[in-house]
Symmetry: C2
DNA sequence: GATGAAACCGTTGACGC
DNA sequence: GCGTCAACGGTTTCATC
């Protein structure tokens, strides 16, 4: 998969705004509208553009709190790791799940309506799971930077 | 700002796919296409829909590595915290920045092309900054769950 | 395989109810 | 609040190079 300089411009513009007009992109890249469209189709087919999503404000729908949680498993065995991975993935309130090196095995970004809601989440994810040795919670006071943006050009 | 059950359906569908057809949403919600369109406009105006973005594969553009970094500042003073916040925000390779409670002050999700690239980032962000007392890096082995999805109904 | 033109489909905004 | 319609942008197809 090779990405040309004009592809980078296309990706940058669509990352910023998925509804960017093709004509604007064409002007910016010096390509024709038809070519821009084909490039976008190819970038999607190649998996460079994975999806196009609306970014929803958690607060607007009642998720006022964000947590960063570190999880240590009892045994670092593939089956245990996979089992926890699946569980975290299935939980809607777990926004992101990272399998990491270092003291902890996993880091999670989780959303909750309030503290009680978070406590219930910890019961589902950690207390009811004998694989989980311990977990530590950091409350997120401010999400200074959000999104999944990738540096492009 | 009140969110009706049909608004939740709209948000859920657009979060999944920003290009979901209005007609499909109308069928799913039992609303007319025109109403769906108005709801979406209102949800954007209210800030419930913050933006629509293409999700780019970091690997496709050469960012093969992800890091989770904890940063401790020398003094937990507002001006120092704000200064670091701004710096992290301005750095394209910092995908997310969280101001958190607990041992560390900040947690960052950062992208790098390779280890050398990451090392350079640490120089820009941490070593050149006398505000930064220390930082710890976890390498992300697997991004099990990505995105900024919010639980919706 | 890449390009441009044209027909088709979906979205947007204005108008009227 | 609701639907209708015209204008606009996006998508597909096709002819051409």
């Amino acid at each position: 998969m090779d990405i040309s300089p004009s592809d980078l411009i296309i990706l940058r513009m669509l990352q910023e705004n998925a509804r960017e007009r093709l004509e604007t992109i064409a002007t910016e890249t010096g390509l024709s509208v038809a070519t821009v469209q084909r490039r976008i189709r190819n970038l999607k087919a190649d998996g460079a553009i994975m999806s196009e999503n609306a970014l929803i404000s958690p607060k607007a729908v009642g998720y006022a709190m964000t947590f960063l949680v570190f999880v240590e498993l009892e045994h670092e065995r593939i089956d245990q790791i996979d089992a926890f991975r699946r569980k975290a993935k299935a939980e809607a309130q777990v926004q992101q799940c990272y399998y990491i090196t270092g003291e902890a095995d996993f880091a999670l970004i989780a959303l909750a309506r309030d503290m009680e809601d978070y406590e219930q989440l910890t019961h589902r994810l950690f207390f009811q799971d004998s694989n989980v040795k311990r977990f530590r919670t950091s409350v997120v006071m401010d999400r200074t930077k959000v999104g999944m943006n990738v540096p492009l050009g």
